[in-house]
Symmetry: C2
Amino acid sequence: MSIDTALSPTPRSTVRRLRDRARTDRSELFDVLDGSLVCHLAIVLGGAPIVLPTGFGRVGNILYLHGSTGSMSMRAALEQDVSISVTLLDGLVYARSVMHFSMNYRSAVIHGRCRKVEGDEKIVGLRAIVEHLAPGSWDYAREPNKRELAATVVLAIDLTEASVKARTGGPGDDDADIERGGVWAGVLPLQQHWGDPVHSSDLERAYEVPEHVQQRITMR
Amino acid sequence: MSIDTALSPTPRSTVRRLRDRARTDRSELFDVLDGSLVCHLAIVLGGAPIVLPTGFGRVGNILYLHGSTGSMSMRAALEQDVSISVTLLDGLVYARSVMHFSMNYRSAVIHGRCRKVEGDEKIVGLRAIVEHLAPGSWDYAREPNKRELAATVVLAIDLTEASVKARTGGPGDDDADIERGGVWAGVLPLQQHWGDPVHSSDLERAYEVPEHVQQRITMR
């Protein structure tokens, strides 16, 4: 499948506020998604929106979600348009005036209709979700059995209709506040780190942490 | 105002999936909110949900949001019920089978109707939002002027209708997988840290980082 390298905005995926923060390259959407572990899925139930955190995976221009077959949100997500947002917080922006305090972030908002995935693509989707959460784990841990697969719904959503925003850099203070001086301004970066692995209490013997987990920690 | 110490579930704020993860104490809702810098606000526009990241503040049982007076999402949030979700990711759970991989997290989902805040409460709300983002900054930086206040909408939502979920601990593997052995399982903790402050390039002289910012960093 060929994918437009540029995001193709529709009315609802067009950034209206702070347009200078809009990013238009599809690779930036992928970067935001690939750097986030959790997305927030919004559906409408009984006329009101509900937003829930959930894991996800990506293969090319398709985002995969999963849940229990009994999940109300998974069922609702199949019957209507949904919106999915992912946000990476990079730092806090301290300004000279309170109304210019801000955050440095990268965020994506996706709109579209989910489809239910079956057969081979169901495995592709589950693999993408597990590998997104814990790279190297799909081939290391036991694969899903028939019972587990039957109890799980996998949904796919096309990443065509999406917007990306990002803020970087220091505060955008008013000239008068800059000239007046006397106030510190700058950015406090926010970073995520992996802690030391905690062995499961029910391990049958003392294990070395496997290489795919060790690799992830050394990237911290 | 007296606040129930227990969360009072309505049908839509009752945890249906994985009920053993439901938390029922209001203090746990407050802890999740106070530990998060960004929330995800879901509204309905043109029949479809939209979810957007935004900052927030809390005073007692009230959550405050703000935005530009021109913001479509702020206007929409006043005309309908909204949902707001906050998620703290504490670690990744590596299991012996791929379908038991999970995340340790604390999350809150809020439902309700926003009201527009004016006068003294508008300042209370803005102060809460700024102090939530950057403690100690409201009294340090320049306060809002009339023009800035006129360009800003502050919304309040009652935290009465909310659910809280949390997962902690190691994997919940099947007995057969535990007995079979041969696979490492455990938790990889995820931690957030503050980086070193980056001075704004337009500072008029070399500043010491002020004490309220320095305090925050030493808590890392």
